[in-house]
Symmetry: C2
Subunit: 169 residues, 2 copies
């Protein structure tokens, strides 16, 4: 065990917050280290590689989002149309804005197939689709996927057309 694991977890938490607030544009390990209250030297010591660090941080953020979503929408089954509207309403709350921004930044880095971004994007969207599929009536993978597509498109447009819409209540 040792201190390393403890400090690793602390670093992941702090860097998660930093990424949610600042995005994926300024992810030099020196900046991340400062956010974590340590040095670039130590981040490499803990995680070996910047990519591995990002892997763990992104995974941690995604897990947090899923927890929030479960808390807000439960596990009841409802019609696809209703779930889409409920999801849109919930996820449009300002609390989710940083995570959604981060999501689309991740997508942008993933679309050319570069890792670790594509693997993470695939994983996260799969989780969403399964989450949806288990909450709609007469579920099929196609219906869940298309509902998810519709939701994501709406969120993308919110970010682009009204960049400040999610910030106020």
């Amino acid at each position: 065990m040792g201190k390393v694991d403890i400090k690793k977890k602390a670093a992941i938490e702090k860097i998660s917050g930093y990424l949610l607030e600042n995005g994926l544009n300024n992810t030099g390990i020196r900046a991340l280290a400062q956010a974590a209250g340590t040095s670039d030297r130590m981040l490499i010591y803990y995680f070996g590689t910047k990519d591995e660090l990002l892997n763990q941080v992104l995974g941690s953020i995604a897990a947090g989002v899923t927890v929030q979503l479960d808390a807000l929408l439960g596990t009841d089954v409802r019609s696809a149309d209703l779930l889409l509207e409920e999801l849109t309403a919930v996820v449009s709350q300002p609390f989710f804005k940083p995570a959604i921004q981060l999501w689309f930044e991740l997508v942008g880095l993933a679309v050319r197939g570069s890792e670790p971004y594509l693997a993470n994007a695939k994983l996260f969207s799969d989780n969403w689709i399964q989450w949806i599929e288990s909450r709609i009536e007469a579920p099929t993978a196609e219906k869940a996927t298309d509902l998810y597509a519709h939701l994501e498109g709406r969120l993308m447009i919110q970010l682009i057309q009204q960049p400040d819409a999610l910030q106020s209540a």
Copy 2:
């Protein structure tokens, strides 16, 4: 007039091709200059700024996409449901894949509000929505926007879930 305008246009064309093929990840002006068959020094001489260069290149690409879309789908009015399916089918063709990848890369850079990306993203999505609105029955801005959202979500999932799907016929 002078040679500058001629060489500017040639540079825009070549760099458009380069960006479509290679994305927005490796857009150092030295790489762009090589793609255009000139030097970084000259690109700054022509365009003043890297941002201005990207502005013009992205605008050129967007214009090209619109031309293609008009050619393939005409200006007929049809039901929103039908247009969504037709658009999905057309835009899923491999010809459009590089442009769609570029689009989501642009979105990823735009979601934190940084320029010139956000301005371009806003402009392009506006154009799409208007394009859609003028081709559906009983058009409203809301219907066109939501149709566009649905389409974009589908494209995003295609890129992430089946990264190679658009490459073959």
